[in-house]
């Protein structure tokens, strides 16, 4: 299969599995693009993730940078469309349906039963990213400090990114 076909298939599938948001798919995505297809190294994956997070916009643009890195601008656009369209269409249809049955029991069951999946998947995502980006004591320290700041304070992420990039530039030489 050609590379664009592989991209469309991979992200189209991930779209409908992204329980709790695009970030939930990171372990699966890393497994496929790093370990199976060898499109990226683990460190490149972590860096592209950081770029997508630093850029303005929804964090689903992670798939845009990965697609573009693998197959150029067309790959990036294709990955984005395949990632957002299937899930978006489902969301629009379910939203219309839920609007009709506001208090139904099955609706609350459905929402409650997805919560633990979201919790487990976002933690798995964190684990993968921490492992990928940890290249020594300084990066480990940076990760630990940012974790505390993001968990406990409302500091704007841009300050953290700025400090992280600067510290990397100065101390990783």
């Amino acid at each position: 299969m050609n590379i664009l076909g592989e991209i469309a298939l991979l992200f189209g599938k991930l779209s409908l599995l992204a329980v709790g948001g695009a970030n939930s798919t990171v372990p699966e995505l890393a497994q496929v693009v790093v370990n199976q297809k060898h499109w990226l190294t683990a460190s490149q994956f972590a860096q592209l993730y950081a770029i997508a997070n630093t850029a303005p916009g929804p964090n689903v643009i992670l798939v845009t940078v990965i697609g573009a890195h693998v197959a150029g601008v067309v790959g990036g656009l294709l990955a984005t469309l395949c990632m957002v369209l299937p899930a978006g269409i489902v969301a629009a249809m379910v939203a219309a349906l839920f609007n009709k049955h506001r208090q139904a029991r099955w609706r609350r069951v459905a929402q409650a039963s997805l919560l633990p999946l979201t919790a487990g998947l976002v933690l798995a995502t964190s684990y993968v990213l921490v492992r990928q980006s940890d290249t020594g004591w300084l990066t480990a320290l940076l990760t630990a400090a940012t974790t505390l700041l993001a968990w406990r304070t409302r500091l704007h992420p841009l300050w953290m990114f700025g400090a992280g990039a600067l510290l990397g530039l100065v101390f990783l030489n």
Binding site: A46, V65, V84, A87, A91, P116, L117, T135, A150, F161
Partner: protein, 163 residues
């Protein structure tokens, strides 16, 4: 729909535009729509704009909402990605990016703790979340199978709990 720019998450900006400035939805309606989109698969904010656009103006509304939300960020990140592909190997760039990646990982972990800690306060959710985590990172089970294994169990348990 206006092009939207947001660093590190667009949700607060979208909320302000739709609820406070334009009055398209009430706060209550917005929260309901967002919690629904959060529990469905896909990028939360993209789903929200899709569902909102479709409700207001059908297929063309959904398409317009998505283009408005995505086109500027996609263009920017394509530019950044191109720079990375060309200059990512240079030593200073690489060092800054390593620092950036470590920061991003910490940001995700901190945000995940914020999301997960309130959820896993019940033993049922904690056990299910632990199962998902173990299957994903311990056994490298692929995402479709994780959903197939854990979701029915979760639906069964919350069916008994929710009255």
């Amino acid at each position: 729909m206006a092009g939207i720019m947001g660093f590190g998450g667009v949700l607060p900006i979208i909320r302000r535009m739709i609820v406070d400035e334009r009055g398209w939805l009430s706060q209550q309606e917005f929260s309901e729509l967002f919690s629904l989109c959060q529990s469905l698969p896909g990028a939360n904010v993209v789903n929200l704009s899709f569902a909102f656009g479709a409700r207001e103006a059908g297929v063309s509304g959904a398409a317009a909402a998505m283009c408005g939300l995505m086109s500027a960020p996609v263009a920017i990140v394509l530019g950044l990605g191109g720079l990375y592909t060309r200059y990512g190997g240079l030593a200073p760039v690489r060092h800054a990016l390593l620092g950036l990646a470590a920061t991003a990982a910490g940001l995700v972990l901190g945000t995940s703790l914020r999301i997960a800690v309130p959820i896993v306060k019940s033993w049922r959710n904690a056990a299910l979340a632990l199962a998902v985590f173990g299957l994903a990172v311990g056994l490298h089970v692929s995402l479709p199978y994780i959903v197939l294994i854990v979701l029915p169990l979760s639906v069964y348990l919350s069916w008994r709990a929710v009255t």
